[in-house]
């Protein structure tokens, strides 16, 4: 897919199977693991092993309240909070194409802990979130 360095504006982002790429200005896969120190006698410096995965997904959305668009998809179309406060599946790919070694698919079950809507005079309405991942991020290449 990418034959070298590439422009990052072709990423695909789906939330609960809904393709919201057209409303995403930035997405970050924060894949991290707890750092467990195993430093012991004889070591000349700190030594670590990986603990539990402790990842999160950060997404910057451009707001759109229209039917089936980003706000209703995540915050619901009714009087409820929608997916906010619940878990949902988030899938991210560098390109909008089939999963492959050069276009890996990252699937995460996220807890939608926040939906901070920002409305400023003279600026685009946006929602920037960081959702913790339940368990591990799954990477697939086919």
């Amino acid at each position: 897919m990418a034959s070298g360095v590439f422009l990052g504006n072709g990423a695909k982002v789906t939330v609960n199977s809904v393709d919201l790429s057209a409303y995403v200005s930035s997405v970050t896969i924060n894949q991290e693991f707890d750092q467990l120190e195993v430093t012991a006698m004889g070591n000349s410096g700190h030594t670590y092993i990986a603990g539990l995965e402790n990842s999160s997904i950060s997404i910057d959305f451009n707001a759109d309240f229209a039917t089936s668009k980003v706000n209703q998809t995540i915050n619901g179309s009714g009087a409820t909070n929608g997916l906010v406060g619940a878990t949902t599946q988030v899938v991210i790919q560098p390109f909008n194409a089939a999963a492959s070694a050069d276009n890996p698919k990252y699937t995460a079950t996220c807890l939608v802990t926040q939906w901070p809507q920002v409305f400023n005079v003279g600026e685009l309405a946006t929602v920037s979130v960081t959702w913790p991942v339940n368990g591990a991020i799954v990477k697939t290449i086919s």
Partner: protein, 50 residues
Amino acid sequence: MEYKVIGDSLIAGHGKGEIVTTDELQGSNVEYLVENGHIEPATKKAKDKE
């Protein structure tokens, strides 16, 4: 089970009017997608509308 995409957003890669299957929606909250007007069960009635 099959569902028809009725919203403007792509659902599991399918656009408005197309059919998406339960398998393709695996891991997703299908009931929520129906409630929010993204998809509807692809019943005979729904197909007749096409």
